[in-house]
């Protein structure tokens, strides 16, 4: 199986700042779920930002191949339309923009890029209903403006709903489990499990073994001080829970 994503010796920093990513190597194949753990400030969100193409970061070395193409050469919106999805650690509020309207615009932008017909209002509503059912979530957030006044848990749920609608090939979930109560955690992780697909890879950034009880990963990595310092299978997370990160050091 060829890799969906190949990261080689990736180095990056905030523009004008010090290096945060200091040589990341990671291969992700379609259908796989990778968990990335590691201490605060290690560079996990930075990695997801660089993958998604957020402005303000500077790649100083290394490469990222996505579907065999140079991902770094594509602007952020094109990466998204090519199937890279980032569930934000802190989803952003957009006042006055209806959640449904936003989603339909996003969905049709991707469809245009892929050369498939856009969904009209009726088709879109049907898709919305199907996904709501699949994820077993209520429609109460859809009428409101994007993330405006949503609770922390509602924002995360909304991210997963967007992911379900946009059907990405590579989904990066940055601490989607943080701040969720037990019930919400179950809804979100059930949702993610239902979105597992042989053609979709998922990268989960998390601090908690608990999430990995619900979403069982194929691989677990530890990112520390800008490098992946250890990797293992699904049992590795439980081991980390006992031993912590400290003994892993930060040397590659």
């Amino acid at each position: 199986m060829t890799n969906l994503l190949e990261i080689r010796d990736l180095r990056a920093r905030i523009v004008g700042g010090r290096d945060i990513l200091k040589g990341i190597d990671l291969d992700v194949a379609p259908g796989e779920v990778h968990a990335i753990m590691g201490p605060n400030g290690a560079g996990k969100s930075t990695l997801s930002s660089v993958l998604a193409g957020k402005p303000g970061y500077e790649v100083t070395g290394g490469s990222i191949l996505y579907q065999g193409r140079d991902l770094l050469a594509l602007p952020a919106d094109e990466r998204a339309r090519e199937g890279v999805f980032l569930a934000f650690q802190y989803p952003v509020e957009i006042p006055g923009v209806n959640n449904m309207y936003f989603l339909r615009a996003a969905l049709n932008a991707g469809r245009r890029q892929r050369g498939v017909p856009e969904l009209d209002a009726a088709q879109f509503l049907k898709a919305v209903r199907d996904k709501l059912k699949l994820l077993d979530i209520s429609d109460d957030l859809l009428r409101r403006a994007v993330n405006v006044g949503f609770s922390g848990g509602e924002k995360k749920r909304n991210e997963i709903f967007q992911m379900a609608m946009l059907e990405p090939k590579l989904a990066i979930l940055d601490e989607t489990d943080s701040g969720l109560d037990i019930d919400a955690l179950r809804v979100v992780s059930d949702g993610v499990n239902r979105l597992r697909d042989p053609n979709r890879a998922i990268v989960l950034i998390t601090h908690y073994q608990r999430l990995l009880d619900y979403i069982v990963p194929d691989h677990v990595h530890v990112l520390s001080d800008g490098r992946i310092v250890a990797s293992g299978d699904k049992t590795f997370a439980a081991e980390l829970e006992r031993t912590g990160y400290a003994h892993l050091g930060s040397a590659a």
Partner: protein
């Protein structure tokens, strides 16, 4: 789940975003010139010019006298200097005050209208031919100084509604014109109103009889075509007791290097229990990115709620013009009358806008709402200037003002200048103001979901303006959203 569908409709008309994409990338779309022979006054302004215009239009003596009185007043007046606008001195003798397509002796049946003019309006998206005409919208098309066509006139006449050019109203309904002309905006109200009163060319006239609800949108489409010509239209709209009318106006002009003057006057009169909704999408040529050319837009718009429980609402989307000086206002004379002002004003590049409203509470229990959204990009300067005045008799008056500014980039400016004067202790006046920047996080969030930078920007801006856009008639809301996107072209990235 039909409520979902409803919500989506209410929040943003479907397919708008598609329109936005197609709408971008081609700058000001209406900058073309129609090659048509014109009958023009020589440039310059003196008593002779006023007489020339009046004679061209075959006006009665009273109207000529009225004009001359205004002209003499204007000669003694000075242009206002209190607005936050940087304007090079304007040479009023360099403008042309009358320009009409040749062989046009006022609006006539559509098959007599010069095909070149019909083509022009078609290009502007306003088909005038009866079969192609916009469904549910009656249009008066004003080209430079004259009205060239009015659609659906007969249908409206069946209901007793008069919708015609101002010139025709003077001929056919002189009593109504005489009674109301200048009754809301007196000749000497301000420099530009006086100028307009002296040299006004054409415009629209509407009268809706008692108890009649106008079944379609009435609209006027203003087009400046001739070089060096000013446009000085005059609109008078009267809703008699219990009548209802919704009116909208659109404006465009060719792309030219020199500035052109536009000084219009609009007067609205709403009698007892009448309601007037007046919407404007102003897209005069704004000048280029270096501030060369563009329309100077000095407009006086005022409505009088003359009867009890009368309602007047202004909704405006101001995207064009190099300079906008405009304060659509309401005189709330009748008890329980209601005024509203909803505004979106965009300034990009070197555009300047000083716009707002006046709500004058005269009767008891009058109420007014002001929602203003100013968007500044490039080196644009945007000022909201609003006055809320509660007179001694206006017991129980209420006003709510919300004034939001959005900045795109670092070189633009937003300013809010509210004047509040309350002379009755029972009045409740609330004012809220915010200034925000489009955050990079918002842009990135949208782009991460696949929207282009342009789409992301217009989505955020449209969201910012939502409370105003939803006050526009549906047909116009879509247009307005596209326009916002086009106006902000080149303001990011």
């Amino acid at each position: 789940m039909s409520d979902l569908a409803m919500t989506e409709r209410a929040d943003a008309p479907p397919d708008t975003l598609d329109g936005l994409i197609k709408g971008t990338g081609d700058g000001y779309k209406y900058g073309f010139v129609t090659d048509i022979e014109a009958d023009e006054a020589p440039p310059g302004l003196d008593e002779g010019t006023v007489r020339f215009i009046s004679a061209k239009k075959g006006e009665p003596a009273w109207l000529l006298e009225w004009r001359l009185k205004a002209f003499h007043r204007w000669q003694r007046m000075a242009p206002p200097d209190w607005a936050k606008l940087n304007i090079a001195p304007i040479d009023y003798q360099a403008s042309t005050y009358y320009s009409a397509p040749k062989a046009n002796s006022g609006p006539k049946s559509l098959d007599e209208v010069d095909p070149e003019l019909l083509k022009t309006y078609e290009k502007l998206g306003i088909p005038l031919g009866e079969r192609a005409a916009l469904a549910g919208v009656a249009v008066d098309a004003v080209f430079d100084s004259v009205s060239v066509a009015t659609t659906y006139k007969d249908k409206l006449a069946d209901l007793g509604i008069i919708f015609c050019s101002f010139g025709e109203a003077v001929r056919e309904h002189p009593d109504l014109v005489r009674r109301y002309l200048g009754s809301v905006v007196p000749q000497g109200d301000n420099f530009f109103a006086a100028l307009n009163s002296a040299v006004f060319s054409d415009g629209s006239f509407v009268y809706v009889p008692p108890g009649v609800r106008c079944p379609m949108e009435l609209s006027t489409y203003f087009r400046i075509n001739a070089a060096k010509s000013g446009q000085f239209e005059r609109t008078l709209l009267i809703a008699d007791k219990g009548a209802y009318v919704s009116y909208l106006e659109g404006c465009t002009a060719p792309q030219r290097d020199e500035n052109q003057l536009h000084a219009a006057v609009v007067e609205l009169v709403a009698l007892e229990d009448a309601e007037i909704k007046y919407a404007t999408v102003q897209n005069w040529y704004p000048g280029d990115e270096n501030g060369k050319g563009g329309i100077y837009n000095f407009v006086t718009k005022r409505g009088a709620c003359r009867g009890d429980r009368a309602k007047i609402s202004w909704a405006q989307v101001e995207t064009g013009s190099a300079i906008t000086w405009k304060y659509p206002s309401c005189l709330l004379e009748g008890d329980g009358s209601v005024g509203a002002f909803y505004s979106v004003a965009i300034t990009n590049n070197l555009q300047q806008a000083d716009t707002g409203t006046k709500m004058i509470h005269i009767g008891r229990d009058t109420s007014s709402t002001i929602i203003s959204k100013g968007i500044s990009a490039g080196r644009g300067q945007n000022t909201y200037r609003g006055q809320v005045k509660v007179m001694p008799r206006a017991e129980g008056a209420r006003n709510y003002t919300q004034c939001d500014s959005l900045l795109i980039g670092k070189k633009c400016g937003a300013h809010t200048v509210p004047y509040i004067e309350v002379r009755h202790p029972s009045a409740k006046v609330e004012h809220e103001a915010t200034t925000s920047k489009i955050s990079e996080d918002q842009m990135f969030y949208c782009q991460q979901r696949g929207l282009t930078q342009e789409d992301a920007l217009s989505l955020i801006v449209n969201g910012f303006c939502k409370e105003v856009l939803k006050e526009l008639p549906m047909e116009f809301a879509v247009e307005a959203q596209k326009l916002l996107a086009v106006s902000l072209e080149g303001s990011v990235g």
